[in-house]
């Protein structure tokens, strides 16, 4: 298996020198091509920050994040690296969708392909409509985000990211803001992406889904990956006491 992202000894903290709060301590992780990696753990454990670091939305303090591509590998942790050419290769979907409310669904999707990749309007339009059709949203192309349900908005956000034909998708608790009955439609889309061979990193609270879809599950606590293992092993025979404790709480709350 060839690697897609190699994270080595990444450290990240917020705040000033006087009041420093470290959110990632020495995190290392290998994400293989076509692999699905799920990050689990309590809120504030560093899952979202790790995703944001991979997309350069947060600059890391120390360590290396190698993105492997057809033209070799680039260290995203290199201070001063221009983020724009990197981000067009990496798709990101947020918990709160972050759709542009002043644009139609179609315009939300075609904006970046036309402005960033320089595609022609008809070409971007055709790609968008094809993706929308595949996700059952073709009739929503002219709608505005606030006319859609949460599940539909999140699927549009996924289409928007996919329209850039990314090599890697980062999904940050994409079902956390959704009504329970709408979670399924978004998870189905993620399943389809997996079947298409998309490399994905998900921060998620959906343990059942992580168990089903992940090749590798990482349990984070206080900015450290305490345990990383295939789901069968991590969920059935967690090695670490903290992991067992976390899973016990999740089971007690009825979410696994």
């Amino acid at each position: 298996m060839s690697p897609k992202v190699s994270i080595r000894n990444v450290r990240k903290s917020f705040g000033t020198k006087a009041a420093r709060r470290t959110v990632l301590h020495d995190v290392s992780l290998e994400i293989g091509e076509h692999q699905v990696v799920c990050l689990i753990g309590a809120s504030g454990s560093g899952k979202s920050t790790l995703l944001r670091c991979i997309n350069m939305l947060e600059p890391v303090d120390d360590g290396e994040i190698w993105l492997h591509g057809p033209d070799g590998a680039i260290d995203l942790a290199e201070p001063g690296l221009d983020p724009d050419p990197i981000r067009r290769r990496i798709g990101m979907v947020f918990q709160s969708y972050n759709l542009f409310p002043h644009m139609s669904v179609l315009r939300n999707i075609t904006l970046a392909p036309t402005k960033v990749l320089g595609k022609s309007a008809p070409e971007a339009h055709a790609t968008a409509m094809e993706l929308l059709g595949r996700l059952g949203l073709a009739d929503k192309a002219a709608a505005y985000p606030d006319q859609l349900s949460g599940g539909q908005q999140q699927r549009v956000a996924i289409v928007r990211a996919l329209a850039m034909q990314p090599e890697l998708m980062l999904l940050d608790e994409v079902t956390a803001a959704l009504d329970p009955v709408l979670v399924g439609e978004v998870l189905n889309v993620i399943r389809d992406m997996r079947n298409d061979g998309m490399t994905m990193v998900l921060a998620t609270h959906e343990m059942g889904f992580a168990r089903e879809i992940a090749d590798l599950v990482c349990f984070l606590k206080d900015g450290v990956i305490l345990e990383a293992a295939p789901p069968a092993q991590l969920f059935s025979e967690p090695r670490h006491a903290e992991t067992r404790d976390f899973l016990a709480r999740v089971i007690a709350s009825g979410r696994l």
Binding site: R88, N98, F100, V116, G150
Partner: protein, 302 residues
């Protein structure tokens, strides 16, 4: 509500065919509200009119300020100068929008190279918001032409004339002053766009400039319209301050008639003319703001 009324409401629930109980109750409340409002308005107005007209100085005030004969003569004369105020107002607006936006964008500049621009923009808004508009008008309107730096004519978008003319430097003073306020409106509009919108745009690979252009500014534009219209409302009135430079407008003309006839009625005429201009504008701003709030507040999530 008294006990009697309460008992009445309980014992005799009036049934109106085709209306729910609540609709019947609401209708009764509304009728009562209208009645109370009319009565109290009539009472207040009567007290005010009786109080003012019975004052010992009233006959003299009436003669000096509300002289019917003077009103009839002066109204058309002063109204003829209304276009001066409207023209100056309309001429200033495009310049204020452009210059205000420039200052706002300078203030948002983040790269170190642009630090001087940021400092300039901050100082600019501090200074021009800190000086009374009328002082700015005096300083610029009289000060700059007195420098005698150039001669000739400047004309741009209908503004201008001789480079020493108050018709050029008066509006420039208003533009400089109001741009500072408008820049702050734009800045708060830009900063009011949620951070997640920027993250969404940047994560797609859009550059900082593209994000500003396609995502931030269009959303900021919508939210700045109501406060912007408020600023323009007060600009409409402050145009009259240019008369201090000698520009003959509604206020100045009223003043000269007053000086000539020794009667203050022209001022009342001028006030009424300004109200005819600003009240419709105020109503429009309120209506637009309410509509804007309904539109942006009514997010539908199924």
């Amino acid at each position: 509500m008294t006990n009697e009324e309460g008992a009445d409401a309980v014992s005799a629930p009036s049934r109106v065919p085709g209306l729910t109980r609540r609709e019947v109750w609401l209708r009764r409340q509304r009728r009562r509200g209208i009645l109370i409002a009319s009565v109290s308005t009539a009472v207040v107005l009567t007290v005010a009119v009786v109080g003012i007209t019975s004052a010992s100085g009233w006959p003299r005030v009436k003669q000096l300020f509300f002289n019917g004969e003077r009103f009839k003569k002066d109204f058309p004369e002063i109204l003829g100068y209304l276009w001066v105020d409207i023209k100056l107002f309309l001429q200033c607006i495009p310049f204020i929008l452009i210059w205000g936006m420039t200052i706002a964008l300078c203030r948002n500049a983040r790269t170190p190279v642009l630090f001087p621009l940021r400092a300039f923009a901050a100082a600019y808004t501090d200074i021009f918001r800190g000086i009374p508009v009328v002082l700015t008008i005096y300083l610029i309107g009289f000060g700059v032409p007195a420098l005698g730096l150039w001669e000739g004519e400047i004309r741009f978008l209908g503004l201008g004339g001789d480079v020493r003319s108050v018709y050029l430097w008066g509006p420039v003073a208003l533009i400089l002053s109001y741009s500072a306020y408008v820049a702050e409106v734009f800045r708060s509009g830009i900063e009011g766009v949620h951070e997640s919108q920027r993250a969404g745009a940047r994560s797609l690979g859009l550059s900082q400039r593209q994000t500003l252009h396609h995502v931030v500014l269009p959303q900021a534009a919508r939210r700045v319209v109501p406060p912007l219209m408020n600023d323009f409302l007060s600009l409409q009135k402050d145009v009259a301050l240019l008369s201090f430079l000698g520009i003959i407008d509604v206020f100045r003309r009223a003043q000269s008639i007053k000086d000539l006839r020794g009667n203050y009625t022209p001022y009342v005429v001028a006030a009424i003319i300004f109200l005819c201009l600003t009240v419709p504008l105020t109503r429009f701003v309120d209506w637009y703001t309410a509509r804007h709030r309904r539109r942006t507040g009514g997010t539908v999530v199924a």
